[in-house]
Amino acid sequence: MLEVRDIHTFYGNIQALRGLSLRIEAGEIVTLIGANGAGKTTTLMSISGVTPPKQGSITFLGQEVSRLSTERIVSLGITQVPEGRMIFPRLTVKENLLMGGYLRRDKAGVRADEERVYELFPVLRERRAQMGGTLSGGEQQMLAIGRALLARPKLLLLDEPSLGLAPLVVENIFEIIQQINADGVTVLLVEQNAQMALQIAHRGYVLETGRLTLEGPAKDLLNDPKVRSAYLGLD
């Protein structure tokens, strides 16, 4: 579904990605784990076209997207839930959700998807007239995911959804991610919480300073001695 081939991405003179390649098949949950500063967020921003790669290619459903605007990429079906949630603090919950469906013209479809988000996250229905900035961290994460779903993505990019959340909330969010995946949405999950991420993912990649160092089925990575010591804090 998505194929990233040898991309190099820069912030000014600083090279954040050095020839990264990865592949995601339709229906998968793929996780990208790595330490702070490894380039996980940059990878997602490159896919979304916010910081386009200088070199290399990204193809989505057979189409080259690495030179397209973010607007086009979203309309093709790739939506990102950014790190730190980035909900709109002074828009209501409902307005936040509607911004997720900004590019859609099918009003009825948007209505139905809004309803679906309220089913996934009942607390958002209660709070729909409240400003986004008044929600708790966990609720904001739910809103950020709900907002992305309003775009009806084929591929959902999730950046650190567990960041700063209580363990119970994290578990709830991860269950929802699995549920979204079961509904047919492919997921690329970036996480520092490698344990949780590898438990729900089908496959995983390990990223170190702009390069991939390991890849494989999530179960294998969970048992890999290097991963266990470096990212899971075990052994």
Binding site: V74, R90, G133
Partner: protein
Amino acid sequence: MFEQQLVNGFTLGLIYALIAVGYTMVYGVIELINFAHGEIYMLGAFLTLSCISMGLPLPLAVLLAMLATAAIGVLLDVVAYRPLREAPRLAALITAIGMSIFLQNLAMIIWGSRPLPFPRQALPAFFAEPALRFSEVTVTWMQIVIYVTALALMVGLNLVITKTRTGTAMRALAQNRTAAALMGINVNRVISFTFALGSGMGAVAGVMVSMYYNTMYPTMGYLAGVKAFAAAVLGGIGSVPGAMLGGVALGIAETLGAGYISSPYRDGVAYAVMILVIIFRPSGFLGRSMVEKA
């Protein structure tokens, strides 16, 4: 006397408010103080004059001037500010001052540097007549027209900002540009829309002032621009209802200052109000303090 000053101050204040919303909206989306906005207001007056001298009736002339200044506002952003979007903010600010001088001089080349009267023949004769009179207070028809037009425009603007898809995108963009882009919002298109909206409002203010004081001149945008900017700061820069409130408050303060202290202090009062606000309430009437839950 006091009541009459209030009526006059309210008229002036609504006009400031119309200009101030342009400052505050642009500041909201790109954090730039668009110093050329006063010139947009000036162009609104002159373009209306030109349309009238081509024989168009007043409402049509104003509408055309609005559309033309909206286009000029968009062009201003595309040509002067967009290339500097990622540059340090000071660069864009200096460019804005440069554009202000450029537009002033352009107007002098086109219309000459001397003040021109508003074409009276384009106004209905009853405009100068009193519409309402309570003992000592007189409200002219022209003032009524200014009230109705300004209030209608502001209600309309608020509806656009709070109810439409593009208006909501504008607010979203002002709150988090990266997130807005990730929603598929075309950031540059929404910024252009903001410039168009603010410029159209400013143009109408320019027409109303030149009609009210029966004069227009190429540098008229400078002082009006500074005062409207003060009004925007007073209301809380970035807040549209704040700019409206700030404009009216400033107009009334200024008129009362001119009436009770001395007329030459008119502009001084406006600046004094701005300085006091910056000292005692830097975020303005309706501005947010900078600390906010992420």
